[in-house]
Amino acid sequence: MEKDEKKLNMAANNFNVYKVKSKIDLMHYHFVESFMGLKPVVDLVFLYPNYDSFNITQNDKFCLFSNIFPDIKKILDAAMSITENIILILPKTLEIEELALLLSDFFESYQRFEKKKKK
């Protein structure tokens, strides 16, 4: 899934080199805006969004909430609507407190899910 046409054409060329194109279906959608109500049958989601590299250095710390174009909350909300199995890649220089704020929202919903099971 990709939003730029140029990179899709490059990816199609690269899949031919490695002889993998028959197994893959390419989609020209935006990840956040495509899943409005729909729910495809997927086992796993792999995410490596566009971290703008101008602000990443070895010493500085990376702010999740400001440097990414589609916000992380929307990405994760769209992903959690599909499945619970997610792989999300993060940079090295990162503040753990911001990451805890993100996951706290999802952790509350997970607690309610367990309570319902017990009932």
Partner: protein, 251 residues
């Protein structure tokens, strides 16, 4: 594509991206702040991929000027002293030993240096055979006597020939430096794709931001067989290649 600004952080993002445009072009469509008539196609030059080449050229020119100034001084000194020495030894071939004794009296010199000085006087006597048009490039020691000789048969150096002779030595250094760069790029490309030179395409964004091959193989091992995977934000497709390279998975 319609990528609208969603939250209040969009203004901060738009300001930072104006000064540091490493993002794709699609992210700058709806920035109404910076669409003046004067600055339609303005992009600052800080992080363009083509600017790095110009900076290296300016440094090389700057270094060439410094080195040329130093070498010009050496030429002038050595040529003047060379001509004076020739005239002396043509006339005073017999009194070479007398000059050695003077130098040894003023300073206490070790036996090794005395042998070197004696050899240098022998070489000077051999210079008298050469013609006037032939010029020598010499090097001096603190004791005021030759330590080495190098022979170069060329005319009196004009401006053109000086720069040509000076830049040849520097061009060799630049070639070695460029060869070192090419090796780095060659190694970086192999880290991303093992089959890079068999027809893979990239962008400047793709060359910087894609994950390496081994990292994608690490994730591919942990995924179960016969599972359906969705790769949002795939880009060039480095991660999805390694996952589906095995015989197990589907879409």
């Amino acid at each position: 594509m319609n990528n609208k600004a969603s939250t209040g952080n969009s203004k901060a993002q738009s300001i930072l991206k104006y000064f540091f445009p490493c993002c794709t072009e699609s992210s700058f469509e709806n920035d109404d702040i910076f669409t003046d008539n004067k600055q339609k196609s303005h992009t600052p030059l800080l992080f363009d991929y083509s600017v790095d080449q110009t900076v290296d050229r300016d440094k090389s020119k700057f270094m060439i000027r410094k080195r040329s100034e130093k070498l010009s001084l050496l030429f002038k000194k050595n040529i003047c002293n060379c001509q004076s020495i020739k005239e002396k030894y043509k006339k005073e071939e017999k009194t070479n030993n007398y000059k050695l004794e003077k130098i040894n009296e003023n300073k206490k010199i070790s036996a090794e240096k005395k042998a070197k000085l004696a050899e240098n006087f022998r070489l000077l006597n051999s210079l008298c055979k050469y013609k006037k048009n032939e010029i020598f490039f010499l090097k001096y020691n603190l004791h005021g006597i030759l330590c080495k000789l190098t022979y170069q048969n060329f005319k009196f150096p004009t401006l053109k020939t000086k720069r040509q002779a000076q830049t040849k030595s520097l061009i060799k250094l630049d070639e070695k430096f460029e060869e070192g760069k090419k090796k780095k790029e060659f190694d970086e490309k192999k880290n991303l794709f093992s089959l890079f030179h068999q027809g893979i395409r990239l962008d400047s964004d793709g060359f910087e931001k894609t994950l390496a091959e081994k990292i994608c193989q690490y994730f591919a091992k942990k995924i179960m067989k016969n599972s359906v995977v969705l790769d949002g934000f795939c880009g060039i497709g480095a991660a999805s290649i390694q996952v589906f390279r095995k015989k197990n998975n589907k879409n």
